[in-house]
Symmetry: C2
Amino acid sequence: MAILGLLREGPMHGYELKQRLVDLGFWRISFGSVYPALRRLERARFIEVSPGSGRRKEYRITAEGKEHFQQILEDEASEVENTSAFRVRLAFFKYMNPETRIDFLERRKTVLRERIASARTSLRRTADRVDRYTQSLMEHGVRSAEADVAWLDELIASERTQDGAPGAEKI
Amino acid sequence: MAILGLLREGPMHGYELKQRLVDLGFWRISFGSVYPALRRLERARFIEVSPGSGRRKEYRITAEGKEHFQQILEDEASEVENTSAFRVRLAFFKYMNPETRIDFLERRKTVLRERIASARTSLRRTADRVDRYTQSLMEHGVRSAEADVAWLDELIASERTQDGAPGAEKI
DNA sequence: CATCGTTATATCGGGTCGATATAGCGATGT
DNA sequence: ACATCGCTATATCGACCCGATATAACGATG
């Protein structure tokens, strides 16, 4: 999905795609994921290949590819539990129907809130049994999730005020 | 490694192990990882199985298992780029040689600092080309990483003052 | 023009994930 | 008494991802 999204901006070769994925925060994406994914997308006729300069291969998205991308992006039941899947969809939010954007963000927020609640419960439950390192780890997990929720609130707020310039409220 | 660490605390069955892994922040750990892992550990003689109550199977760590756990925990070249691997080691920090703990935390900090730097670079490089959502995503990534660094600083500080009570400096 | 670091494509084995199957268990309702 | 529901519990499968590795051309430095 991320590859299709990036190729919507314009044709690219594999190595460049990988770099752009790293830029989006997928630090550890591997060539062992990228190249097989490109072959799968080609087989499915969602992308096309043509020789670029040197030994490069230029990948271009097809009409079917755009259609498929839109379909999985707009899918109402779109994954919101999976952090990576969430981040990919957010990176291509501009292509998402504005009406479903807020719903999508709210659903992510619900998931995080649930995790925070259950993490707090297990912290209380195990407070006396686990060592200070484990406890610090769990507490940091809660704080991170809370920061994520605050960020989602920013995004939702700027999405509601239509003009929407997230970053205007930036710290 | 996480399974061996948890079994050091006492015998457990598979389902319970999975729950404890979730408690440690591995929200999405799957049974398709847990049960095959238990079989591999059994084959390697790092754990032993005995029938528990009902249809449960109780897993126990062996002497070889403890030895192996200690070895991969203390391994100087221990993975610090991989967030999951880092978190597992931190969860079992009490078993790690105190001299190597600070080094381990510092190395993780270096990795995060490098990521922050490269993320800032790619933010500056792409600031005018990418849309506001992508930008917010990248900015949030940087803020999260910075929060992680601050947390590591807390852990390092409390580790240096021997008595070490992380959470004493808690916000 | 040798050498080194970067760009670039590709594959492989071992492992993870999400879905699914199966079934016993305890509680709640009628 | 017993149906049914949700939770506990073990297990497997296909599709896929990751890290290591192979290969080679390219550009810059000396």
